[in-house]
């Protein structure tokens, strides 16, 4: 079942097409990877989907309903949550406060229900002991998980993960990969940007490759690793 679809999405910054006529679709229950060199337009595509910016042309559909032009908070409430490339937790609030906020505003829960759900989610992402810690005092690895928990608190059906693994050491990366599959097992569809190829290849069902704002390839990890255009771009031939 198709859950998220983009048709000919285009966004110009000045005269430059950051994203140019990109078509993509994501099926329910998939983990889809989004890769490409720096400046390929991956994060811009995430910003378009999540309502941070509005496409110049093209359309977005979520469960068959129009998502294009909705503001960020409405996209979130509709069921598409995101994390950020550079971690953006609320540093002076507690970890629990960060996550509760997602439940209260993203899902419309009462404060008490959201706090209880937040406890459970902190446990789920492996931060059970950190509930009352100030978010800014957590390590980078833990802040990334906290961001994931905050996104989960909005009870999304689709999650956009922007480089959640990059910058982590091997053990931490392995734990986060495990976390991503556990999120998928909760019935949440995942679209993720990642530079760590090993991670992408091992957990994604499908991979989309962007280059200079255009989609240049799409397929299973095996197809992508043997795709000549992709190899050319990544190896710089």
């Amino acid at each position: 079942m198709r859950i998220l679809e983009g048709k000919k999405l285009t966004k110009f910054f000045g005269g430059l097409a950051a994203v140019s006529e990109v078509d993509f679709d994501v099926d329910h229950g998939e983990i889809v990877g989004l890769i490409g060199p720096n400046g390929a337009g991956k994060t811009t595509l995430f910003n378009l989907i999540s309502g941070a910016i509005i496409p110049d042309s093209g359309a977005l559909e979520f469960k068959g309903q129009k998502l294009t032009g909705l503001k960020a908070h409405l996209v979130c409430r509709a069921g598409v949550a995101r994390t950020f490339q550079s971690v953006r937790v609320f540093p002076n609030m507690t970890a629990l406060g960060n996550v509760s906020l997602g439940g209260v505003f993203g899902k419309g829960m009462s404060s008490a229900a959201a706090a209880a759900a937040a406890e459970e989610l902190l446990d789920f992402v492996g931060l059970a002991g950190a509930a009352s810690t100030r978010a800014g005092d957590l390590t980078l690895a833990h802040q990334k998980r906290l961001e994931v928990a905050r996104a989960l608190a909005t009870r999304p059906e689709v999650m956009l993960l922007d480089e959640v693994i990059a910058g982590l050491n091997l053990t931490e990366a392995g734990e986060v990969m495990d976390l991503i599959t556990r999120i998928r097992d909760r019935g949440i569809t995942i679209l993720m940007i990642e530079h760590v190829m090993k991670a992408i290849m091992s957990i994604c069902n499908r991979i989309i490759v962007l280059h200079h704002g255009e989609k240049i390839a799409e397929g299973s990890p095996a197809e992508i690793t043997s795709n000549e255009t992709v190899i050319k771009i990544y190896l710089g031939k």
Partner: protein
């Protein structure tokens, strides 16, 4: 976001009762002085309600207060006092919602400059209106006795405190705090950033308008320069910084100390008043980055660690 302990709640009630009985034991001079301190405290608490959590320094208090002042001056003859205050508050609220919806997207310095511009714009607008249409400048305000002014000001302040406290503890308070820390992240967590900022900006303006409406009756004569005096935009900022914004009582203490200090310097050293005021301010900001309450908290903490060090 700390809850008030029963102890602090009791203390707050006691202070309010003592204040309420002030006209019975205090001199008329004391009543007037305390009224003006409560006015400062009300402006400061209203200001902190929005600008504290968001970090967006609004310089609009004088505009909102001026709306209240002019409402009182224009309608004081026709309407009973409570209604004048309600209309003054509502006028401020409307202005804030209108301005807020248009400008709360502005960040940092741009927001501050715009809000300050609003004060000057309104002042010129009212002046132009008076000169062009009524061919007067300024007007007299229906005079009310000082005790009534005191009680009304105190009542507005108590309602404001309860509102500010409940807001701070509510989900909207949490959302405003999140907006202050990272606006975009808050939006992506489902917070309707524009709506929450606009509404809380409006509520804070409402109390500034009410304050202006009652205080106008104390000044007998007002004109646009008195009503829209930028002084009332800067005072709340200074008092909040002076008192410290980390705690709920910080801004109130800041306003009280500042108000007393102003009166003391003004009466004792009328010629050096501004100079001394300035020096105290510079020293306070340099050495007390977290304000008076920050200093108290540091002492408390220091005391505790010292206890640990001596088993």
């Amino acid at each position: 976001m700390n809850r008030f302990s029963p102890y602090s709640f009791g203390l707050a009630v006691l202070v309010v009762i003592l204040l309420a009985l002030l006209p019975l034991y205090g001199s008329p001079y004391t009543v007037i002085l305390v009224t003006s301190i409560i006015m400062y405290a009300a402006l400061t608490v209203s200001w902190v309600m929005f600008s504290g959590p968001t970090g967006n320094v609004s310089l609009a208090p004088a505009a909102f207060m001026g709306m209240g002042i002019y409402t009182a001056a224009s309608l004081g003859k026709f309407l009973p006092l409570p209604l004048v205050i309600v209309v003054g508050a509502a006028a401020s609220l409307l202005l804030a919602l209108l301005v807020g919806a248009l400008t709360l997207r502005l960040k940092g310095l741009y927001f501050s400059i715009f809000t300050f511009g609003l004060v000057l714009l309104l002042r010129q607008l009212v002046l132009w209106y008076e000169v062009t249409f009524t061919h007067t400048r300024g007007r007299f305000v229906v005079v009310i006795d000082n005790t009534t002014i005191f009680y009304v000001m105190l009542a507005i302040f108590v309602v404001l405190l309860v509102t500010a406290y409940l807001l701070r503890r509510s989900k909207y308070g949490a959302a405003l705090e999140a907006i202050g820390e990272d606006e975009e992240a808050a939006a992506h967590a489902g917070v309707n950033v524009t709506a929450i900022k606009t509404i809380i900006f409006g509520v804070s303006a409402l109390f500034m308008g009410a304050t202006g409406a009652i205080m106008a009756t104390k000044w007998t004569y007002i004109d646009p320069y008195i009503a829209f005096d930028p002084f009332f935009s800067f005072m709340p900022v200074l008092m909040a910084v002076f008192g410290g914004m980390a705690t709920f009582v910080g801004p109130i203490i800041g306003a009280a100390v500042f108000g007393l200090l102003e009166e003391l310097l003004l009466t004792q050293f009328p010629f050096y008043y501004m100079l001394m005021f300035g020096i105290i301010l510079v020293v306070a900001i340099t050495y007390l980055p977290n304000g008076l309450t920050g200093l108290v908290m540091k002492w408390k903490k220091g005391g505790r660690t010292a206890n640990h060090a001596n088993p």
